[in-house]
Point group: C2
Chain length 252, copies 2
DNA sequence: GCATCTGCTTGATCCAGATCAACCGAAAGC
DNA sequence: GCTTTCGGTTGATCTGGATCAAGCAGATGC
């Protein structure tokens, strides 16, 4: 019996070609043969649980990690126990790209909820990209996309006010979850208010207040970590420099 | 005579192998043959002048650009004429990496002073990296370094106060200029107070006030765009969460 | 040369959001 | 079950830095 079970696990074993994320993740646009080759270097670990580390700041860089299910946060810890949350990562997203240069992780990554993670040993991935041009291109795009994303965050932290920040965050989560086949208007946040605030450069209290305000304005409904958009257009209207009142754009 | 002059220009023509930046720029660690191959795809334009564009937001992405001499700013323009300055780029630094993914520039780049720029058509560079593993590695490192840099900026905008921001900016400029063979303690800023403020998420007035404060504290001497560090250790002490007084680190 | 413009500085005032404080309800521990 | 803990909410107050306003000195134009 047990044996059977193990065998059947083997048969339907996790593999890029069967993975529902293949249109979001690295295999995107790869020929089946090449997916097979990529597959052969991917390591699958047992599921990780809330609080487990993928890697810690200061450790040597060996692998990139891809979220398969669940979610992960990355953050840059500072001496006194403080931290800056750098991102929340959903299935299909790749983690660790910032450590390729120095080969040392400058940030830490821990899972927010029970998660399955694929590990890609970077030296082997690099060899592979040298022989598969489309995979190389995919890697360049991936790294470039990360830069674009960081750029948007710079804009958020440099220019947006608290409401715009939270609205941007929520719409962004909604879109990413929707791409993954989940509802765009009704979803669960795996991170705490504290983590959201830290990520957006806001105090917890401010995050909480703005959730309440959005709710009062009939834009959404919140119950703990469950968020439901009631008026998506209304929320999206907050995004831009939709500067409602006397607010001015800072620094030109 | 004129003919002679042209020929002699040709002889000492700009080339990666003669370039003093080859230890900072893409050719770093490449075999001489490979530098030659890289060289063959680089386009050298005539010098650009203050305000000239390398590319504008919305244009199709075709090439990466490398600063050879001078300096460049990149910024993300918003509808109403506002902008977020994303970076100031010194000789050896590569610009345009964020557009590889979408193949459209999301930001604009203009030179801050008379500058020489190398252009690398990306499709040709990509072909080349597929056949030169060390160049491919160099590209991954380059992209990764850009992500690390953005990450540090996120930390700056998310957690640092005005003094820490300006000190971080100045020390960072100092280090980068020093790497390029210039003085680490006595240098010229090619950007305006306005641009510095925009970059750091501060109002011009705040930047000006903090320059004055640093000067009063004997940390440095400023005369318009000329900066002279008088007490480097003192400036570096402002960097960390060297939280001088009652300041607390925000959000944990 | 003089007039204008532009970038920078300095002072006064204001406000968005941080900080401080108290409370509440769900979940975890016993 | 009860108690403790922890994450979240709400209210009151404070403050760093934005905004407003004015003046000043190089740079630019004529």
């Amino acid at each position: 019996m047990t044996q059977d079970k193990v065998i059947s696990f083997e048969t339907i074993r996790v593999a890029c070609k069967n993975c529902t994320l293949s249109t979001l993740c690295l295999p995107m646009g790869l020929a089946p043969d090449d997916v097979e080759r990529l597959d052969s270097i991917v390591k699958h670990s047992k599921p990780l649980h809330r609080g487990d580390y993928l890697f810690r700041s200061g450790e040597n860089f060996r692998s990139l990690f891809v979220v398969k299910t669940g979610s992960v946060k990355t953050y840059s810890p500072s001496e006194e126990g403080g931290e800056q949350v750098l991102g929340f990562h959903l299935p299909g997203e790749v983690i660790g790209l910032d450590a390729i240069d120095t080969e040392v992780h400058a940030c830490s990554a821990r899972v927010l909820e029970t998660s399955a993670i694929c590990e890609l040993p970077f030296p082997r991935l690099e060899e592979l990209t040298a022989t598969i041009p489309s995979l190389q291109h995919q890697m360049y795009r991936l790294l470039s996309k990360e830069i674009s994303h960081d750029t948007e965050m710079l804009l958020l932290l440099g220019k947006k006010n608290a409401e715009e920040r939270l609205a941007t965050f929520l719409v962004n989560m909604s879109r990413r979850l929707h791409q993954r086949g989940l509802s765009a208007t009704d979803f669960h946040l795996s991170m705490s208010r504290h983590e959201i605030g830290n990520y957006l450069g806001l105090a917890v209290e401010t995050v909480s207040r703005i959730f309440t305000r959005f709710q009062e304005e009939g834009l959404l409904k919140v119950d703990r970590k469950h968020v439901q958009f009631l008026n998506l257009a209304g929320i999206e209207a907050v995004l831009g420099q939709a500067v409602p009142d006397s607010h001015r754009v800072r620094s030109s």
